[in-house]
Subunit: 426 residues, 2 copies
């Protein structure tokens, strides 16, 4: 089955908005074992749109098209689809119901421009949109089955997973295939190191397809398995996951796509622990990440972003003479900050970061990319120093924050053994 | 001139990585007055790559291709280009110099797989890569001039603006056109409100093209002007900018693409002011934004992320009885937090946020989306309350943070006289 994706709209064509829809669709299809052959993007131009639809109709068996189904005059996808198929636009009863439903449940009247959205090419089937005004539709153009969806990502995602994906799965037809995907999220290994380590895995499990996805600074490893017997696939996937976990070790922080901060939230909730944070060079990013998790107010008590030395002394109780002796970026200072913030917030754990994100502030001794991390618990206070060679403020903030969270995660799961970056002992 | 963009690589095709390169290229071209007609994406597959290149060669005058120029076996773009043009791959001397330069300046030996990167289609001109190992190249396939660039965004951006863009500009040829782009960044108006307000502008300045770009929660308005006489264009753009500024008022926070936090950084530096922040529901996002600006340590002193009431009392000195009386989300509390953090950090300004980002924590009285903002200066302490209807934690954090920063910016631009002292005298 040859599948293509087409994104439409001037906003994407001119680069005003990046096309995330096509990546979303390609990934979801890959997760059920289908590979897309080509993506394209054209603007809100009738001639280009029609000729592109007709080209795709010749090349592909199935195509997913996003965008241009809204109520305004530059929404021309339905008309272009009708022209490409050589049919008329007609009022589609179930599309009209989809539009009217949307407005009725929100106690708003349906406007005539919204009713225009129910005009679909003759022969199409409407696709219900539970999240917005634009119904989608399917249409055969030549031998190719097209799925037309709105471009608003929130609406498109819902409709794609509710209606389109199950439909495409039935098209695969024949013997029903069971598919499983497992996502291992890692931190602490480079992409090439992950690839190197997983070489043996591919020999051991030739039936499992591997996919890698770098989402700086984490790397996701996806395991894909498929077959006709569900039990066999389940067992195979369990063995494969176990083997991959052994290979990748403690670098794996989640096996279900959860973020580092969500994993830490789960561990803290489980252990009824609370956390206080002291940040310098990460400037609030650690706190921002932690509080992106709904319910984080249950365990996240306080964070002090102590950019100035004065604040480190006043708020975190780091003695001025210690700051003077070691300088603000030092594992001893990170320790003091962690102990200080734990104390003042009355938290189970204190986590602290001080370093040089750049571009300024580096020295020969402590170049840009140096970060010191402190972790204080009821039992001990530890300090670490690492160096990362990115020389980019935004990347440094990200990797410093992840490194600190990873050290904390390893403490929570029962081990502190940082692997990435250069470790210096004080 | 018909221009197309092609992104290559399995990572993009399968959605493992979103294609930001094509958007970048399309935008840069639009800024010099050129519109792209189509983007495409194909994977690392020789047949698909060759047939796509040949199709583009028939349709377009100019094409920009990214990806597949690396040293590994799945980097096949140079070979595909050679096949499409019906020529051989040969060692390109200046490409080899580009590769060797890269390694020499980093004191590393050139490997044979890297030398492979200097094998280019016969007849190509190498494009120097100052930031990585993969040289780019130009090649005529049929009547179309192709620019091949590496897919690593950081490298591609440099090469595109250094080499490709100036080259494409000369291709426009004929009478030289001067082009100007002005970017106004706004906060506080919806996209449709911006469009509504700018209706009169388009009547007044029909020669100026308008572009809108929503980058939640800000909206950028781009003004494009072009013509053969530079002075006329400059004058027109100045008048147009002034008119747009009048129309959009204080909602415009920058006229040069700078972010809200960079604008605030500039204003604080100018006024020799310092800032301390107290965050509750934004959870560190305000601090993270402020510290994304290089050099922010000069004016950003401290932020207290006081998620718990206890921390609000202990760190910010908000009296427990006041917290009890008003509840944590109240403009009075925001005021107290702002005054408290200003005091403890010894800053010129104190900015505070407390609210309900959701999904939990809302009440009838204070639903999810409620935010209270406090601003303390040497002269006064003010409290505000707002409600945003997004019902989405991540969006709420973003708009709460921008709203607080915008209130602070308006305070800063409203103050004409420079501030005398850095510290609070009390």
């Amino acid at each position: 089955m040859i599948i293509e994706i087409l994104a439409t709209g001037d906003e994407i064509l001119t680069g005003a908005v990046a096309d995330t829809n096509s990546a979303h669709i390609a990934q979801a299809l890959k997760d059920i074992g289908l590979l897309v052959v080509r993506h394209s993007c054209v603007g809100d131009d009738m001639n280009h749109l029609v000729s592109t639809l007709q080209e795709i109709a010749i090349r592909a068996d199935v195509a997913v098209v996003t965008g241009g189904l809204g109520p305004t005059t530059d929404d021309i996808t339905a008309e272009a689809a009708a022209k490409s198929a050589g049919v008329e636009l007609v009022l589609n009863r179930s599309a009209l119901r989809s539009v009217e439903d949307y407005f009725r449940t929100r106690n708003r009247p349906t406007s005539s421009s919204n009713k225009k959205q129910a005009l679909l090419p003759l022969g199409s089937d409407a696709i219900y949109n539970p999240a917005g005004t634009a119904p989608g539709f399917t249409l055969k153009i030549g031998e190719c089955l097209f799925y037309f969806l709105p471009g608003v990502p929130f609406e498109m995602h819902r409709m794609f997973s509710d209606s389109v994906l199950p439909n495409i799965e039935t098209l695969q037809g024949g013997e029903h295939e069971f598919r499983k995907v497992k996502t291992l999220s890692t931190f602490g290994l480079t992409e090439s190191a992950v690839g190197e380590r997983m070489k043996g895995f591919s020999t051991e499990f030739p039936e499992i397809k591997l996919g890698f996805r770098a989402k700086f600074p984490e790397i996701q490893i996806k395991l894909y398995a498929s077959g006709t017997d569900r039990e066999t696939i389940d067992k195979l996937m369990n063995r494969a996951t176990e083997s991959a976990l052994k290979t990748l070790g403690e670098n794996v922080f989640s096996v279900d796509g959860r973020s580092m901060e969500a994993v830490i939230g789960g561990l803290l909730t489980e252990r009824k622990g609370t956390l206080a944070v002291a940040e310098s060079c990460t400037g609030g990013l650690i706190s921002h990440m932690l509080t992106n998790v709904p319910g984080s107010s249950e365990y996240f008590l306080f964070s002090g972003i102590t950019y100035s030395n004065d604040a480190k002394t006043k708020i975190l109780d780091v003695a001025p003479e210690v700051l003077k002796r070691f300088g603000a970026v030092h594992e001893k200072i990170a320790e003091k900050m962690a102990a200080g913030v734990r104390q003042i917030a009355g938290a189970t754990y204190g986590l602290a970061v001080t370093g040089i994100a750049g571009p300024g502030g580096g020295t020969d001794d402590k170049p840009v990319g140096t970060v010191c991390i402190g972790l204080a618990t009821a039992r001990s206070t530890q300090g670490f120093r690492f160096y990362f060679p990115f020389n980019n403020r935004s990347r440094n903030k990200k990797i410093f924050a992840m490194k600190a969270l990873d050290i904390f995660r390893r403490e929570l799961v029962g081990r502190v053994e940082p692997l990435m970056g250069r470790k210096n002992s004080s």
